[in-house]
Amino acid sequence: MHRGLALIAFATSVLAAPAFAASAQKITPEEAAVRRLTGEQYRNVIRDVFGPTIEFGGHFEPGLKVGGLAAAGASSIGVTPAVMEQYDAIARVIAEQVVNEAYRDQMIPCKPGDVKAADDACARQFLSGVGRLLYRRPLKPASLNAHVAAAHVGAEATRDFYKGLGLSLAAMLSSPQFLFRDAELETDPDAKGGWRLDPYAKGSQLSFFLWDAGPDLQLLAAAEKGDLSSQKGLERQVDRMMASPRLEAGVRAFFTDNLGFDEFADLTKDAVLFPKFSAQAARDAREQTLKTIVQLLVKEKGDYRDIFTTRKTFLTPELGAIYRVPLVDGRPTGTPDGWAPYEFAGNDKRAGILTHMSFTALHSPAGRGSPTIRGKALREVILCQKVPPPPGNVPFNIIQDTGNPLFKTARDRLTAHRANPVCAGCHKITDPMGLALENFDGAGEYRTTENGKQIDTSGELDGIAFKDAEGLGRAVHDNPATASCLVSRLASYALGRLPGAGEQAWVTALQASFAENGYRVPDLMREIAVSDAYYRRALPRPSPAVAGNAPLQQEAK
């Protein structure tokens, strides 16, 4: 972590806070760490502050994945000079729109005395207001003064109040306080010598977890009043946020990360082999699964495990052609496709999200399907079981030669490949599950034969045999690892890192209550959000570099 950011991380403000409810678990918290905003979180904050029409004019660097989650890498990722340049460019584009003559009256609550000169009072009013929302806490006086001074200098240099204000706003948007979610700490009255996130950091952690966005005014006000320091006050805010339609955005953000849907951005298919695949189909496939999940888990408050068996989903005409089901909408020709709820018939092979194009196409190479890659994804993403990477000297020629007349189906090819004992071990844990999805080709379209030979979709998962994808979905549904994996990954997502050894008891308790509560994801999210373990932190240990510098700092004094 960057040293300056680390300093922000453990900057402490000791506040007298009401006592927390005692934790039921023995928790040894991990060190506090800042977390870089994801691209979507950046966009969500900006849209909340400046409106949904703001354009960003650039792309955000993909996150660093830890344990398969970008969120868990958010506390390990830094900012390279190139990324900083990109942040700076995006910040300028946003700031220019905010101070643009066309929008400034809506965005800026005051008018300068002279548009060609600095106006510190107006700049202060604007910057303190947006600064509170962008930094997710009130600006400290020194920070606000610095931003007002920057606006002043900018206005004088450009002889334009608004340009000066825009420059200061751009600087604010490029600052670590905006780009990173801070982890300012306060002493924890419930744990002697312990620390916890201060109310504003707590509010940020809550809102990015539940809404994938920054705190709203009510949450900031609750933090300011100290409400978040009491269990009752915290629960009141959590319940308010859970009842908001914005919870859907939080659930979508988690599952987008959890299912690796960022990889859709780079997904391509051979257009000759898979002519129906298109960028639109890929976008729709991703959205199909997210809509299915949100409907089942949030709107219907259903059992998480049912996402692997449900026949209910949503489709567009674009997907309808790939899934071979009738679907049109009533929009005029030429307008984008609309969504419609759809339920696959009882005899249809499609049941559960593993049979969605978002799984079968995403976990396939460009020119073919892959039971191994699909099985590996299932083991790692859904069951949290690590599959070792293949040895470097493994020949893949048999698997890749889909035109070999001796091995017409993927099962044939994998059987031949497994004759190599070096390969057999790993394929044994991936292929029996992946082969159950062989009715879906590399782009997710249904098929019954490969190279003219009937496809055998039988398989097994941890001793449970099945004959097709529907059976696989049921086996995943019933596998105890499915639910516990979800809890582990949601906890990692919420914490922004993998849970530490001292936090495992908390995760175990979450897993138990998840099962007791009928595997309801919103209930699990609430339990995490109101848990004091979620906010406890240890002071970061000084890095060797900082420790080594200490004598010099003392000497300098």
């Binding site: 002519p275 129906k276 005409p317 309808g320 009738p326 679907l327 049109v328 020709t333």
Partner: protein, 380 residues
């Protein structure tokens, strides 16, 4: 109706059973038409020893000579036109051809008044090498000049439209889209995204067995959908335009996988086609045959007596541009169609107003759902 309701309605309508059949038949399959064009079977030598008619650049010079210009004058005009500042297209040869009609001795637009153009007597299919042409015996007779279908070997095939156009260079070709005549390939490539798709639905108790069936031709609200590589997309859904203008329903029979009309020649056919090409395909005494292939696609032929003035207007509506780019001598085509028309004599003149025609088509699997009649949307 709210959109969600429309969707539900559409899906329910489809899933509840065949949309168009009045019979209680169990299986219904729809196809979207991915090619529709004149069925041609051009062979070397089928236009006689002189071969096909000249291509348009040569024909244009011949027409100038037929207008009374000497060979030397034509040569000089051509040189002047090619060297002229305004370009060849605005030159004397081209303009002479545009206004090659003569009315009371005055030049008139030859496309608008083709009957004022001297018949260039273009060649048509003739002889033994032109014997095999796709189609149907529409009149129930086997005449000396009738064709024989190369697939079914039915004799007495009436397809004078094929005969008339068979020696026009841009109308020569085969069946498949890649082998099809340039005129239709051009029209399809250019216009396919600008017109509503055609949907064929076959309904029967068991489409894999011999028996009765119902076949419908309808026009969709949507355009044909395409894959990323430009090929037509299978398994897409289309709403059926409820307008009766483009609804054709026939009793049919399935025999050894071939679907034919149960009462051949008993019904008419009318489909709005392409407003920018042939606006409407309308035929009487229709016959049809169609096969569902193992890859779930279809291929078939449609025959009947077609209004030839519809065809002429379609080709001539592009005027000089279409004459130059695709069709060739438009007035010549007028005279060919008029000459070979073989049905529906005008009570006033005795001129046949319809010509026996054969079209071929291909299709891929699709879903057909019913649609409400189009309504104007009003924003409040």
């Amino acid at each position: 109706m709210p959109r969600a309701a429309v969707l539900t309605f559409a899906a329910a309508a489809l899933l509840s059973g065949p949309l168009f059949s009045k019979q209680a038949l169990a299986e219904s399959r729809s196809f979207v038409v991915t090619w529709f064009g004149q069925a041609m079977n051009s062979k070397d030598g089928d236009c006689g020893p002189q071969g096909p008619n000249p291509r348009w650049p040569e024909q244009r010079l011949k027409n100038a000579r037929d207008l009374g210009y000497s060979a030397e004058e034509v040569e000089r005009m051509l040189k002047e036109d090619l060297a002229g500042e305004e370009g060849y297209e605005a030159g004397k040869i081209v303009q002479a051809n545009v206004f090659r009609g003569r009315l009371n001795g005055e030049p008139v637009n030859g496309y608008l008044y083709p009957n004022t153009v001297i018949d260039p007597k273009l060649r048509a299919l003739t002889g033994e090498k032109a014997k095999f042409q796709y189609g149907f015996n529409l009149d129930g007779k086997i005449g000396d000049k009738d064709f024989e279908d190369p697939e079914t070997h039915e004799k007495g095939v009436d397809s004078e439209f094929t005969r008339a156009m068979g020696c026009m260079p841009t109308f020569r070709g085969g069946l498949t889209p890649t082998a099809a005549p340039l005129e239709y390939a051009w029209a399809w490539a250019w216009k396919k995204e600008g017109r509503s798709a055609w949907i064929i639905t076959v309904t029967a108790e068991d489409l894999t067995k011999d028996g009765d069936a119902t076949i419908t031709f309808d026009r969709a609200v949507e355009r044909l959908r395409f894959n990323a590589d430009g090929t037509p997309r299978s398994d897409s859904s289309y709403r059926i335009d409820p307008s009766p203008k483009s609804h054709n329903e026939y009793k049919a029979r399935i025999k050894d996988g071939l679907i034919t009309l149960a009462e051949p020649g008993a019904a008419d056919f009318s489909m709005v086609y392409n407003p920018e090409f042939i606006p409407v395909i309308r035929m009487t005494k229709v016959q049809m045959r169609m096969k569902v292939l193992p890859d779930r696609t279809i291929e078939g032929f449609l025959g009947g007596y077609q209004r030839w003035d519809d065809l002429y207007i379609a080709y001539a509506s592009g005027g000089k541009a279409n004459e130059d780019g695709n069709a060739g001598d438009l007035a010549g085509i007028y005279w060919l169609l008029r000459k070979y028309a073989d049905h529906d004599p005008s009570p006033a003149t005795g001129q046949m107003m319809a010509i026996s025609a054969t079209w071929n088509f291909y299709g891929i699997p699709a879903f057909a759902v019913s649609a409400e009649p189009p309504r104007a949307s009003v924003h409040h």
